[in-house]
Subunit: 335 residues, 6 copies
């Protein structure tokens, strides 16, 4: 079974209209958005067609990250919008319950503690809407101010405690970017590098032994820059090698380059890599060399000669089941 | 002829999608928005139907004010978006050249001088797109920071100079609001009050004798609070009475209450009031008493018994022709 | 009986000298101000003469709002000064106990919670000095920074709880203004509009059913802009009409224009309007048309033909007795 | 002849009322202050009596420093107020031209360059009002923000150039203080210490060889802390000794302690010390030991046994004539 | 016995290398500094030689103040560095236990409460390392931002409570300076003046009757500017004279000028002055007049003719024993 | 010949002492640092030994990046320190002119334009000290504030113009880091990613066709994340492929992992990669697998089987000669 663990919901036009309203009126929306069932069904069906065209059986969908408005003041904007997006996702999942799982966006806001709003919304999503995971944005200021503490800091513990309690993993994925020199797509990468180092350099996993963290986009720069951190670790006299430390984390394949994914698999280990494509999204453009879209990643994985069949099953399916226990609880595999 | 001098374009869904992209990626849009002709034609036709239903012959359309994003950083967001909105307006006007005129939104940004970006875009709109006026937002910070100087300050002179040169009036109309205690619709009113006093208390009209300024929504609070400013003026020993000072400005009827419009007409004078409804918009809701929408304002004006036929013609038509000379230059009245 | 519910104390010169000291030395006054009895008696007698000249029987006096220094740092300045002003008021009331009632100024400061200093001073004024009400400044930053939350926000609950407990109403009245584009007299108006909408759009009166709020200066812009808020309310599908919501609040006649006061009386209802003049103050200038001072408001009310004798009694006297229960407790009406 | 080179004008009550107005309304005064001649004459006469009682022949009067409002925003406040104060001073001098000389307060503001407003006002005061010197406040933020560059920085050169051109010295004297831990009277001292070191450690007197600077209050801490700066100077290998450097500056005796004034005279030299008392002011309180007011300083100087008659003449009279050349130009000594 | 109560540790080069690391990497040091015993022994021995050369028997050593980095963000820098410096001091003391006592540097940081980090480090230093006092920096922002409240404010009470409990005095001594116009050596002086006034003008010693505070460098400007504060005190009608108030505090002789030290002794009293030299330090430069280093202060004290033998013993020895009770507890005087 | 194009000077202890002085006293150093010749010779000789031990013939040495203090206020700190470091480098080069070349550190400061101080120091270094290149720190705020514009912005043009004129390349290398979540070594990587994208996405190389930029540490994350940017480029419809765009830049091998260097060489091309090790530095720790230090990189390159002898010569030698034309001008290769 091919599980795409990293995809984002396609929003119906009415949602974008509501987003516009929030940007103009901030925490004062004049009307409640009513998204008709047909609009939801339409976007759900379009995505299912895309999935069929590339052989994806099941997709985990979360809010479109760069539209999360975590830095649009006041905090109520993020709160109203996260709730709206999660509700849309729940309805999309309900259209095709065999093809989708919901992953929650959190109402993060600037430097506000995740205890303020995020835990409650995560609980609502998991307990009431049946969601199986959540996104974590390491910099909810979206580059508009100095960032909050790194993911290894106690600042984030209220969220981790809730995630452990609810048995849902978190996908590290930043949101928009207000910094002209750093587009949101590049900020994704940098935030992932920062997240990896901050988590490894902390006692997070001792405090939360059942916490599961997936780092999107093949781990930012870290697998490529291993040497630097290996040496740093030796110089500091750390007892556990940097390579071993890295195995606390999971990564996804959403990187679009076979050479890089091979490097990732070598460094992070096959058991720690989940299939993920973000399709449709940034990678939905035709690669003039392969003739396929960049985010049509199944052939890329299948093309890595040194992977065994078991390895592939791990990447496409089994790793994901281990990381997302709630996703398959009441689920009968149709295949 | 019934001219609605104050209305805002209805944006096609593709524009709102592009707006979302700008909010997430700020000055770094990943794609150029392509709005198909049918989408433009569809929104244009819908508005024409609304106009027909209430007897409006001609509408002056500007960007939807609260969506102008004048405070979304960096400045490039406002610039890209203003250009996009004005282009959409030009295409809507082109669909029904007898029914619409274009009024430009300006790429204002926070405390930036209007000389930076606004003058160039106004020139483009008037000279290349045939627009006949522009919006002026007195607080482009949208309440997110302390505002720039008042409209009577030399800060605004570069814009006034361009308006005089191009022979286009400005409609005072603020944009969004980031202050939780002050919704954008209330900020419209407060900004208009501030604008009126700032302009009256300055040498603007001596410096720019041909400048024409219309204050939206019946002038904020000023006509209602005349007594306070009359007394202040007497205490200061000013030579010209406050009532006379007020006649430097124009106002529109976009207020939705007959009592108030009568007060306005008494204070500002019939010659200084233009018909305007903002339809469709905030007033597009059914008044349970009249049974008509609040922004169906033609019957309201017609219901004011003490207005003569000439007065009505002034309000519905002639005043507007005087204030917007470019609007009727090459225009053959179809009636 | 003619009760002027809205007037401000005239300060003796020694108080202004002390104010200067506070501006220079901030929280470090070098000397305690000693205001001699004669100085107090002199200003009290001057005001009684003014009252007699316009037929006012009783005046409610509070600190001169624009001199309250709510934004002069540090907070101790506001604290020392509010206490000084209230003490002066108490002494003025003591000079003519049949002609004055005390209304407290509060030591508000920037974004500081009213629980910090205001509640204690209000208690002192009511319990020890016999005051009957208080001023509330919705923006103690005086425009020098972004304002605190609106009056409908829980931020203000500690003050409301104290007001209910002490049975004193609050008069919404902003203080000075640091924004060059918005003089303090105009800021009064805008802050009142914001206050009205913030209170109506909240659960304040559910939480504090006995709270009484008077909005100064005829309610800012709201009665004039009713149409806009009526429509907004209908569009939001609110169950209680905006007009009905407005009746939660009281207003005073301190507006200086008969047309506007008539509009106010129609919209807010005769039972919700209190006579108030702010005399002597901004309106103390000769109206060249009427030949009377703008703030000589008794004839204005008497001139409104459609008011009944009962209506006038309500406006001049009875409404005030209902709103300010403490003002008449041990008071034997001399008339 | 006894010349008190350091005294401040006593403001009539109407000026303090106007100051209050400025604090509340900032750059928007509602009325122009009219100070009647009698009010001016009254304060002038009171001061002359004080001068007579302690044997002062001539006083140099400047604005009361701690009331200068150099940090009250916006800049227009400082500008309006400095002009008002200087006008009052000019009128006081005109009452008793043999007993007073005017020293200008400058409209300094926060971090604004002195070129903005100060030079023009200084020119007005010297050329039109006949003033003979000016105050310089090294920290016009009055402790409300980080200060502008030290007095040795080119930031101040526009002012120094004007002072040289107009042949007027500057008296270093800070204004109010917004820092709770540092009262204005203590800030005077600290700012003087900073000023001395900043000037000595710069090329100011090379660039402006005719510039004359008097440091108030016996030079802050510097004469007492000479050892520290002597050693610092030796460690840096400076060619000119610190003691010699100090002689570039003038000091006044406004210190109220004989021991300290003796220390000052030893360190700074008799030729560099001007008689000054600030009377009436901070020192106007009865010293329980001497039985005289602290600021009755003539006996203190006379009591220093080791001073010769010539020394005393220098301190009381001749040094001042050298530093303030304009003060005695058309002046016939009445003694 | 000659006790130099005010001296600072000389850091081995490895410590400065570590400091550099902290400045570059802030709270992220890559390696733990290992200072070899020889390095410690070397610097200790060098200082003992200096002590012998000027006749000092015992030195109290604290961290070099201007290197304390109290304003280098984040707080962890100050914390790591204070701990490092105190550890070095403890090792130096251990080299020559008869010649040194340790005085702790505290991990102060910007506006952070001393309860956060300082109390814990003070306890560690006193209870584990045998330290006998601590430094107190009144402005841990080092002039980079507005300072925290004055030393008389409850902000500092957690530290005072710990000092009382541990029976250790505090030496007022500011650290570095980020303000270009105020070098750290001058800031020392100004901060001391502010500290003296803030403490005197508070209830600190009523709340903490056993608290002992020593003001370095002869008390800043205060003893020299006594007149000003005496008069201020009389004007305020204070019951206890300013001179008497000053006796709550202790001062040291680290001033390098005999005239000034005589002034200090007169004002503060012989019982309140401790011998202190800061040697080696700022004063370690040859005085061309005396031919000795400025900080060779023993002859200076001995040269003051009017001091009795008992006075000298107080200054050199006994006062210090009273103020630092822990310093001599288990100490057998070798003389 | 083995040229290590990326190495940093080892500072003598006296330099670190001076750095400490600058941190405490900021722009007010009390003494000029005098570094004796032996100290310089000692560090130079130590590095030559290290070079010999790994077979490096020639090293390009620049200031230790993380010690550059680009964010330590005021700007004078950076200016004094950069000058000091460059002078030390020049003296080290002079010790062994056949083994070293100087690469300048620039006195960058926060958001200050490079025209302020950098160009002058670069000219001094190249024209007077014979330097051959410079470092460029894309974020001189060192993470303490929001960064200046990206390297593709005209903000940097004054520096690029000087580099072209002087014929020296720039090595992109950030400095320290004030952000607790992002250590300086990780910030190096992220800043390089941002630099690459900002430069590619600009007209820099059209405006400065002879500008040469080397990106340190194998280009941050970009070669690993190529897929994401390739797709982004196709979606934007760009004419030149992202791979081709990348060839405008040079990279060095300072990455410490053979797999990653192979990926870099494939993506960037052999002609665009320069040998660089940063030895001694972060990589100077023993790799437990290879048994060699991580920064002993010559064997790593030699171990890449698919490189031809010419390829290796390019990487070790020829590419560097092309990029650094000044480095070999008057240089006679000793091999």
């Amino acid at each position: 079974m091919i599980i795409d663990s990293h995809a984002h919901v396609v929003m119906p036009p009415q949602s974008l209209k509501f987003m516009s309203e929030l940007v103009g009126g901030r925490g004062n929306p004049s009307v409640d958005p009513k998204i008709p069932d047909e609009a939801i069904h339409k976007v759900a069906t379009e995505v299912v067609k895309i999935m069929d065209s590339v052989g994806t059986d099941l997709q985990f969908i979360s809010p479109r990250p760069y539209l999360q408005m975590h830095s649009v003041k006041p905090a109520k904007v993020s709160e109203i919008w996260a709730r709206h997006c999660n509700d849309v996702i729940a309805r999309v999942v309900a259209c095709y319950p065999d093809r989708f799982r919901g992953v929650a966006g959190l109402p993060q806001f600037m430097h506000e503690s995740p205890a303020e709003r995020c835990v409650a919304e995560l609980e609502r999503c998991v307990e009431q809407l049946g969601f199986v995971g959540c996104l974590i944005n390491p910099d909810p200021t979206e580059g508009s101010e100095l960032p909050p503490p790194g993911l290894g800091d106690p600042f984030w513990h209220p969220l981790y405690a809730a995630m452990e309690r609810l048995q849902v993993p978190g996908l590290i994925h930043s949101a928009g970017s207000c910094t002209p020199r750093e587009s949101y797509t590049l900020k994704f990468i940098n935030e992932e590098s920062i997240a990896v180092i901050s988590l490894i350099d902390s006692d997070t996993f001792q405090k939360f032994p059942n916490l599961k963290i997936v780092v999107a986009h093949a781990g930012g720069a870290i697998p490529y820059q291993m040497g630097r951190f290996r040496s740093w670790s030796v110089r500091r006299g750390e007892k556990v090698s940097f390579d071993e430390q890295l195995r606390k984390l999971y990564f996804d394949t959403c990187n679009y380059s076979q050479d890089s994914i091979e490097l990732l698999l070598k460094v992070a280990g096959v058991k720690n890599v989940l299939f993920g494509t973000e399709k449709p999204g940034t990678g939905s453009a035709r690669d003039p060399i392969s003739g396929r879209d960049y985010d049509d990643m199944k052939p890329v994985i299948e093309n890595i000669g040194w992977l065994s069949a078991d390895d592939r099953a791990d990447i496409f399916d089994c790793n994901c089941r281990r990381v997302y226990p709630r996703a398959f609880r009441n689920y009968t595999d149709p295949s």
